[in-house]
């Protein structure tokens, strides 16, 4: 294997070794709350994140004979994945412990370990520059998530959700693999750069290429949760234990974004006209169906599931706007707006599910929107945090979600599709209704459940910081936007 460059893959190597070590330590720990595993997992995530951050700003480099790429976009996405998973673990500890998912008689610290495995899978996905390494990372992440959804043993709703997720996920991975095999057959290579060169040269059978592309996009759309491959999203989000919903709904979106960019933009750019049309259909349907269906939901997890379908549709709008006239800076604008959108969406969603877990207690799931009634009277600060998160998802200034929507809309208008922007904006008003309903219930209704909010101290602190970050990033979005722009330009421009 030429250019092994092991040193580049330091974050992944460290994480893999750390997981093995923590696994062994956990296996021999005394049964209990597994606090040691928790602390070690957080430590591993922090170190992995720092190692990933160290690569930011370095020129693009390859390892494992071009199967692994290390560029600034990968570094940025890995850091935010670490942040999202770390927050998830902090928010989930109490919740999962109360429901027998951590410690106890039958389980140890598998929850933390599976989360770390999914993070490792995400790292591999984010840095993949070969069909096979991307698929490898995707499967590692997905299998960990399937197991996590089922982790709450004896809870039939979770088991059903796990079955659904596993079967449909396997089907989608099959689609992806089938598409990859067609592309391999047509271009003769699994390496993304070589595939791009082969397609650009024009010596490849176009029918086979487009056929493979359709399956590829279908597989990716499933993973993202875009219509019409979205049917698993509401059921799995609702059925999975909230801690796992947080794991599925947050960081994996960043990894999926990464592989969409790698596969479609870096690998198959000459086919852009085709995948752009496909993405337009996916985006429009997702935004419409996601927003309208979320209005009638009474379960807040299901509502957030449909809202994530709509939000991912919005992100796809950014991705599809980069192509039309070959203007590199406009393309960079579009992709960096989609990246900014994905990152801010993940930060906001992690906070929203965190608040849901804050309201839950042993034996009580805070899943209904009505459970939020009167939160302003029970805890004004966390009601405000939820208000900030909900308004950010709607896209109201001064929260960061507004700037994310602004960037994507600007990319769409720059692409000449003003009517698409108007459509997206109208759907945002539809979306405003169900986000406002949460705010309305928190502030305007009287509480039905007067119990003190149970949540550990670290969870409250991190949740507060999370909410504050959403507002602060809204007041000063410039630095993060600049980072995203730099990361995308460097990744797409440099070789």
């Amino acid at each position: 294997m030429e250019n092994l460059n092991l040193a580049l893959a330091l974050p992944e190597i460290f994480l893999a070794i750390a997981i093995c070590a923590i696994l062994l330590i956990d296996a021999f720990s005394k049964s209990g709350a597994r606090d040691l595993t928790f602390v070690l997992s957080l430590g591993a995530i922090v170190v992995a994140g720092l190692l990933a951050y160290a690569d930011f700003g370095n020129p693009t480099a390859y390892a494992f004979s071009n199967m692994y790429v290390s560029d600034s976009m990968a570094s940025l996405l890995k850091v935010f994945s670490c942040v999202a998973i770390a927050l998830t673990l902090i928010y989930s500890r109490g919740y999962a412990g109360d429901r027998g998912m951590i410690g106890g008689n039958t389980l140890g610290g598998e929850f933390y370990l599976l989360a770390l495995f999914s993070l490792l899978g995400q790292f591999v996905m984010i840095s993949g520059s070969n069909f096979l390494s991307i698929y490898l990372g995707l499967e590692l992440m997905s299998l960990s998530l399937y197991a996590l959804v089922a982790l709450r043993r004896g809870h039939s709703v979770s088991t059903e959700a796990a079955m659904k997720y596993f079967v449909l996920g396997a089907l989608a991975s099959g689609f992806l693999l089938y598409g990859i095999s067609m592309l391999y057959g047509a271009t003769g290579s699994l390496d993304l750069q070589e595939v791009a060169a082969a397609v650009a040269s024009g010596n490849v059978d176009r029918t086979v290429l487009v056929f493979g592309l359709v399956f590829l996009v279908a597989g990716l759309a499933f993973k993202l949760g875009a219509v019409p491959f979205h049917m698993w999203v509401p059921d799995v989000y609702q059925g999975a234990p909230t801690a796992v919903t947080l794991l599925l709904g947050g960081a994996p979106k960043l990894a999926t974004f990464a592989i969409i960019i790698r596969l479609l933009v870096e690998g198959l750019l000459p086919l852009a006209f085709d995948w752009q049309q496909m993405l337009t259909v996916l985006a429009v349907l997702s935004i419409a169906i996601g927003n309208f269906t979320a209005i009638v939901q009474v379960n807040i997890k299901r509502m957030l599931a449909y809202s994530s379908i709509a939000q991912m549709g919005f992100m796809l709008l950014g991705l599809l706007s980069g192509v039309s006239n070959g203007d590199a800076s406009q393309a960079g604008n579009a992709y960096s707006s989609a990246l900014f959108y994905a990152i801010t969406y993940v930060i906001t969603t992690v906070g929203a599910f965190g608040v849901i877990m804050l309201l839950a207690r042993a034996g009580f799931e805070a899943e209904s929107i009505d459970d939020f009634k009167g939160l302003n009277q029970r805890s004004p600060w966390f009601a405000f945090v939820m208000l900030a998160l909900m308004f950010s998802l709607t896209g109201i200034p001064p929260m960061v979600g507004f700037y994310a929507k602004l960037s994507v809309l600007q990319a769409v208008v720059a692409n000449g599709q003003v009517w698409l922007a108007v459509f997206a904006v109208l759907m945002s008003v539809v979306g405003a209704f169900y986000y406002l309903r949460v705010v309305k219930v928190m502030y305007f209704d009287d509480p039905v459940d007067q119990v003190q909010l149970a949540g550990s101290h670290d969870m409250r602190v991190m949740l507060s910081l999370n909410g504050a970050a959403v507002v602060l990033l809204g007041v000063l979005p410039g630095p993060l936007m600049a980072l995203c722009a730099y990361a995308v330009m460097q990744s797409l421009g440099g070789v």
Partner: protein, 495 residues
């Protein structure tokens, strides 16, 4: 542009916001007095910092004054750019002044979550001043949207029985309009490369583009003003909002829309403005006449004043779209006067509501017998509402009618009917509520104004009479800026 030596405008915007945040942080319902006192101090300080803007304003300069500029979001070239000219200067002071009045108005009647009530109004005040002083299109938009959140909370938490419906209607209706404006703002950015409003004023645009931009801005500003037929949110919002909320809504928030016409629609799309002026004049006249008739038949006092607000704002938009000096100046004077008068009317109704808890006219009659001092104020403000010479209400209406007659005799006649209708509904309201014999037992038990209420209404009465007798300070300030605007609008900027 005259660069400012001292950041007066930033101080005007951020001092109420900072005070609002402090009040939110330290307020406790068990001991509301420190909260109230701190809010009052905050409101007074915020008003005092706006006085230097008036004292140091140069009436002869047409350029923007007190300009502050800093780069905010580099990626989109969005600047933190503030400035005032003759058109916007008085609104900064009016906003800060009304905030003080509103804090005093809510002194005793608000007992639940006092800190949040006061904090919301202070933050709202800062955001509204931000709208009037922003010279960057996106900064304007951010402040414009940011005003929705506190107002939504104010209506929904402390409002009347149907407050949830009213708050949601207010929010979603205004959001829909503003989001369409966002697309126009992004389009202008794409065409000109900057978000600065003054750059947009000089940007040449095709007629089709101008018409679309005018219509997009019209969506937002027509809903905000409100113009017929998108006015239906206002009666609900006014009726259900608490007294302070109605005052701020009528006195300031409606002016945000009219200000938007002057700052955006007219100078950016002058050809479209001229082409569509027939439409705008018709809509304004419908508002004046039809809504005036609707006001006549109302049985709820607040609804009556709400409809009369719509009719008065119809006068304002009429004045703007006949494109002469007197008309535009009359419209702006009417905006300022309406701020005082309608604010005072809502406060008077609030005084009655605090005692009797009813807004129905039928529940009153003969109030003068037990509340003579209140009756004096109520009669004065109703006469100002009707446009009696000597009160501020006359100046604006007279100037607009004069300008309309110059423009087209019959439009002037139709506009003049406003005087008749205004007198009709205002005086009939006064007659039914104040005069005559005591109609109910609870009217016989009424207590006259206490010192706080007397002070509030007294200050407003002085403002109304002073402005009516000596309007020169107001018109002198706006003279140069208005003629500058009209010169700009009379020149075609077709591409």
């Amino acid at each position: 542009m005259m660069q400012s030596t001292f950041p007066y405008l930033s101080l005007a915007i951020w001092s109420p916001i900072v005070f609002g945040l402090i009040v939110l942080a330290i307020g406790r319902d068990e001991n509301p007095t420190p909260t109230r006192v701190l809010s009052l101090i905050g409101a007074i300080v915020s008003f005092l910092v706006t006085l230097p803007i008036y004292l140091q304003f140069d009436n002869t300069a047409s350029a923007m004054q007190f300009v502050e500029q800093a780069m905010w979001i580099d990626r989109f070239n969005i600047q933190y750019l503030l400035g005032v000219d003759g058109i916007s200067m008085w609104f900064v002071l009016l906003t800060a002044f009304i905030t003080v009045i509103v804090v005093i108005a809510g002194w005793e009647v608000i007992e639940k979550r006092v800190a949040q009530y006061m904090g919301a109004f202070l933050i709202l005040s800062g955001a509204m001043i931000g709208v009037f002083t922003a010279l960057d299109g996106l900064l304007f938009y951010v402040f414009f949207e940011a005003t929705l959140i506190p107002m939504f909370i104010i209506i929904g938490v402390w409002g009347g029985p149907n407050r949830v419906y009213a708050a949601l209607k207010f929010f979603l209706y205004t959001l829909l309009g503003s989001l369409l404006t966002l697309v126009a703002v992004i389009y202008l950015y794409m065409e000109s490369g900057s978000f600065q409003i003054l750059d947009w004023h000089t940007l040449p645009l095709t007629m089709a583009a101008q018409v679309y931009i005018f219509l997009a801005f019209l969506m937002a500003f027509a809903v905000k003003v409100p113009m017929w037929p998108v006015h239906t949110w206002l009666p609900d919002a006014h009726v259900e909002a608490p007294t302070g909320g109605s005052v701020v809504l009528a006195a300031i928030m409606l002016k945000l829309g009219a200000y938007g016409f002057l700052r955006f629609s007219l100078p950016i799309a002058p050809d479209a403005s001229h082409a569509l002026s027939g439409l705008m004049i018709s809509l304004s006249l419908i508002a004046v006449i039809y809504i005036g008739l609707v006001a006549l038949v109302q049985a709820d006092m607040k609804k009556l004043v709400a409809y009369s607000s719509i009719a008065h704002m119809g006068f304002v938009t009429l004045g703007f779209f006949i494109f002469n000096d007197m008309g535009v100046q009359g419209g702006i004077v009417q905006m300022i006067s309406h701020g005082f008068v309608s604010g005072a009317m809502f406060l008077c109704i609030g005084v009655l509501y605090d005692r009797v808890h009813s807004r129905e006219i039928a529940d009153y009659g003969g109030v003068i017998n037990t509340m003579p001092r209140f009756a004096a104020f109520f009669v004065l403000f109703s006469l100002a509402n009707a446009g009696l010479p000597g009160t501020s209400g006359f100046i604006g209406e007279f100037m607009v009618i004069l300008a309309s007659v110059q423009f087209n005799f019959w439009i002037g006649v139709l506009a003049a009917t406003a005087l008749i209708l205004g007198a009709a509904y205002s005086l009939w309201l006064v007659k039914r509520v104040v005069f005559g014999a005591i109609a109910h037992q609870h009217v016989a038990d009424l207590q006259d104004l206490n010192r706080r209420e007397f002070f509030m209404l007294g200050v407003l009465a002085i403002a109304v009479i002073l402005m009516g007798v000596y309007p020169a300070p107001f018109t002198d300030v706006m003279q140069v800026s208005v003629s500058n605007l009209l010169d700009h609008v009379s020149v075609s900027k077709l591409k």
